[in-house]
Symmetry: C2
Subunit: 195 residues, 2 copies
Amino acid sequence: MTGKKNIGASVALCPTPLALCGTYDAGGKPNLATLAWVGVCCSTPPAVQISLQRPRYTYEAILDKREFTVNIPSEKQAKAADFCGLVSGRSVDKFASAGLTQRRGEFVNAPVVNEFPICMECRVINVLELGSHVLFVGEILASWVSEDCLGSGGNADPSLVAPLLYSPIGHSYYGMGSRVGGAFDIGKTLIEGEK
Amino acid sequence: MTGKKNIGASVALCPTPLALCGTYDAGGKPNLATLAWVGVCCSTPPAVQISLQRPRYTYEAILDKREFTVNIPSEKQAKAADFCGLVSGRSVDKFASAGLTQRRGEFVNAPVVNEFPICMECRVINVLELGSHVLFVGEILASWVSEDCLGSGGNADPSLVAPLLYSPIGHSYYGMGSRVGGAFDIGKTLIEGEK
């Protein structure tokens, strides 16, 4: 294909959001797993999909509780976010090691990371077995935003969230850049008759 | 919840990747739909999930062909990307109106956007009915990167891709920021014994 290179049958969504899945294990210990794969998948009900490999400790916890949280770290929390994907909650208290604290969600029995700017409380509504990963669809019951990320009018401001992003291409983290424009808006200039 | 505000049962993944779904309709006309919801969902096989509302023209095309492309625009293509979510391919030739061109994929019968930096060719391997949206899992058969986005060693460079991001919070587009560090790497300093 002239002008383009085939980099193989590989994941090239560049970048993807970085998020951490919060669960309590059978003994009530909170755990936090860095998710390679997460995405929004429905508007009504609002829902996210997270995909996990079966050997992961979080996989067991979600099968058991059917509830989890999706926590979005800020760019400044990159080390803690990466750490939670390097070790297993089976043997490590990740919250203690990463210097994070948590409290129980108000809608589900899963931990909300106090230090992270955004947390969604989710209940499993679908499970889909794929190959290496199992996809869980979680209905979002509440979304929490840290008060220091609220901008004008009390609305969450993505620039104040300053989220961390992950690029499968290059296996690196990135920050979020500047605002480009409004969605469902900046393309109107291309509509015939509205030029 | 002290220090946090509940913004309701709403989608708060901030930001999400922005991608456009390419299909040919029953008459062979190429179409390009801005995806609100897209995410990676499996490593082996490599797969993405895209979620579409049933009334969309692209939904019909995917049900018919079971093949599609996922095209990632650059930040400089923000207007064209937004436009493709404002109008329907039923009545508009979006490629012509947005000043874009396409060619047929090498692995699937779906269009590759020539001007966009990344394109994944996908075949449907699962369909999951949710509420407002239907989730399609597409196995990635090839990922194309524009040659002007290849950096050292011929590898795709996310900074050269300069992808466009979408934040459901605030309904706005953002660029990608600077590289923060390597994944599965920068958190090692928090592992006991490796400090």
